[in-house]
């Protein structure tokens, strides 16, 4: 039993440079288990870069983060971090475009299933059971995120909004503790954004902590418990939505940017 105030993710002094450009400098923040935490900032502020470090796609040049009581120096492999419980979606949708929507979600079950070559070839009892379980789980997750299409439909034939939700289903299939969403509402219309908001609230109510990058200010303000603002790789503000909204530094960053 984790107490509601337990810290799930504690980022300390993360640095990332690309040549001369300092994409992240000394970024620290902590996210409580069970909250929806917003990460906002102008274009090029370093939000996606932070995600890439948390999920092992980039290596940090300095700093560390503590996730679920294990310390990482920002140099672990993506699959290690996924196994540890950090799942993500991508700003530019990265589905397995030519696989079926069901298979996309099934791939998310990879790391907590075990069938190897032998099981795949012989299809012994355990292998069959496991395959059946993940097929069912994938189908449930598709319904959970509100995709009602035929399961054999190809991921790339989904509408834009559905593709974003499929990415969420795939990420949830990894059984994450932290779900990191990179601009999930991008390209969605108002109705789609509304149902996304409901979905994220449901996900949180089921015990998954949400880290959300989003440009849609209304969505972020209405959804997040707390928000951090990045600008030129630095954290310039943090707090509950009403505080952040009235913070002069934030207003300056957005108007100046």
């Amino acid at each position: 039993m984790t107490s509601p105030a337990a810290t799930l993710l504690k980022i300390s002094g993360i640095e990332k440079r690309f040549g001369g450009l300092s994409a992240l400098s000394n970024v620290s923040l902590h996210i409580q288990a069970g909250e929806i935490y917003g990460l906002i900032g102008p274009n090029g502020a370093g939000k996606t870069t932070l995600f890439n470090i948390l999920t092992g796609l980039y290596q940090a040049d300095g700093g560390k983060f503590l996730f679920s009581d294990i310390e990482y120096a920002g140099r672990s492999k993506p699959h290690i971090l996924a196994k540890a419980g950090i799942a993500r979606t991508f700003q530019n949708i990265r589905l397995f475009a030519n696989m079926s929507i069901l298979e996309n979600v099934m791939v998310g079950c990879h790391h907590h299933t075990h069938t190897g070559i032998w099981g795949a070839v012989t299809r012994h009892k355990n292998a069959r059971n496991e395959e059946q379980q993940i097929t069912q789980r994938a189908a449930e997750l598709l319904a959970y995120v509100g995709i009602t299409r035929a399961h054999h439909m190809l991921a790339k034939n989904l509408s834009y909004g559905e593709q974003r939700r499929l990415e969420i289903a795939r990420a949830l299939a990894t059984n994450p503790k932290l779900l990191a969403l990179d601009e999930p509402a991008a390209g969605m219309n108002a109705t789609e954004t509304d149902s996304l908001k409901t979905l994220l609230q449901t996900i949180r109510s089921h015990g998954v902590t949400v880290l959300l990058i989003e440009h849609d200010v209304k969505l972020v303000m209405g959804l997040c418990d707390r928000i951090a603002v990045l600008d030129y790789g630095k954290k310039i503000a943090e707090g509950v939505p009403s505080e952040v909204r009235n913070n002069p530094a934030v207003i300056a960053a957005y108007l100046g940017g």
Binding site: T48, N52, T55, G56, L57, K77, P78, H79, A82, K83, A87, R88, F90, N92, R94, L95, F96, A97, N98, M99, E103, M106, V107, G108, H110, H111, H112, T113, T115, G116, I117, G119, A120, V121, R123, A127, E130, E131, I134, L154, K156, R170, A171, A173, T174
Partner: protein, 364 residues
């Protein structure tokens, strides 16, 4: 096998039984039919076609399933063949039985697959292709030169008088009479190779539709997304290499036992390219396509061999162009025409066909 066939041809249960029975009869009678219609030489061609189908299916796991370009695949074929030859010939005077050397060769090839894969699989696309190409050549050069100071492989002369495939006293190396029917050696090999080919097809089909197969497809589609979903991409790619190599080693052992003689010449870059052509031409990722590609690429050169000589004689009354050159010319032309006509292969997997028409995935 019937289930596989059902899925393979996408037909319902009742018709699947019928198709299964029909296909069995055709496959069983095939060597006799071909022997009667075209002569014994063509049964030999058929045997080679089966060997190449096994090779192509092995490479298909690496190239078609996991999307890794391997230009040195024939090295694993060589490992299997030399393993068989060294442990079953007068070269060292060792004569281990077929059922030991064949799995041993496959296992050794698998080991070499991991050996090559472990340091190189971090490389992508073109770079991986170049390294595997180098690996293939290194193996061939080794085999060519391991005759001094200690003679292991007998160098370019190769190894001859290799034991024929035999189980107990039953040898496939000479004609046998079963139930009053005389089976020539090439026929016997055909049946053995057919069993192994069906086995390889079965394993390929099962792998494709499994947790491992999905992981391969995911890596091929988007490696970054696959890794972010918890797939240890290096291990899963290594698994593809190891599986492909195992099939290659298996085919190599069968080849050595069938041919009775092997030399490094049989394991050059041309062979690697040829096997890759079977996969690409037939239809990457689709087992039916790969099988078809294998048959075609063994049969076309044989056909052109006949055409190049006899057709010239018949049409012009004399041999104007060297038949061997003309044959390769016709073969090359056939390849180009097929690729122009069907860029995704003759019988592509529906997935591959879609990939070829899709644009490249965006960056992170």
């Amino acid at each position: 096998m019937r289930n596989a066939l059902e899925r393979f041809l996408m037909i319902d249960k009742r018709n699947a039984w019928l198709a299964f029975a029909l296909l069995s009869i055709i496959l069983l009678a095939l060597p006799f039919a071909i022997d009667g219609l075209f002569g014994r030489g063509w049964v030999r061609v058929l045997d080679f076609a089966l060997l190449y189908i096994m090779l192509a299916l092995g490479l298909n796991i690496v190239v078609g399933y996991a999307g890794l370009l391997d230009l040195g695949y024939v090295a694993f074929f060589a490992v299997g063949a030399y393993c068989y030859a060294l442990l079953g010939s007068p070269q060292f005077g060792i004569h281990l039985p077929f059922w030991i050397v064949l799995p041993l060769g496959a296992l050794l090839a698998c080991f070499f697959g991991v050996l090559l894969g472990a340091p190189t699989l971090r490389l992508r696309g073109d770079y991986l292709a170049i390294v595997t190409l180098g690996f293939g050549e290194i193996i061939r050069i080794f085999l060519n030169n391991l005759n001094a100071p200690i003679n292991i492989t007998n160098g370019p002369q190769g190894i001859s008088i290799i034991d024929s495939i035999h189980v107990g006293g039953f040898s496939l190396g000479r004609a046998q009479e079963i139930f009053g029917i005389a089976f020539p050696a090439v026929h016997l090999h055909y049946y053995l190779f057919l069993i192994f080919t069906l086995l390889v097809i079965f394993v390929s089909l099962r792998l494709q539709d499994s947790r491992i197969g999905r992981a391969w497809a995911a890596i091929r589609e988007d490696e970054i997304a696959a890794s972010a979903m918890g797939i240890n991409t290096r291990n899963i790619k290594l698994l593809a290499f190891a599986m492909g190599a195992t099939f290659g080693g298996l085919a190599g052992g069968l080849f050595a036992g069938f041919q009775g003689f092997i030399s490094p010449e049989s394991f050059g870059l041309t062979e690697s390219i040829m096997i890759l052509c079977m996969v690409v031409l037939g239809g990457m990722g689709n087992i039916g396509g790969v099988v078809f590609g294998g048959i075609l690429l063994v049969v076309i050169p044989e056909l052109t061999r006949h055409l190049a000589g006899t057709a010239q004689q018949a049409l012009l009354g004399k041999t104007v162009i060297d038949p061997e050159s003309l044959r390769m010319l016709m073969f090359g032309l056939a390849l180009i025409l097929i690729m122009l006509w069907r860029p995704a292969g003759l019988w592509p997997s529906s997935q591959r066909r879609r990939e070829l028409t899709a644009s490249a995935p965006p960056s992170v």
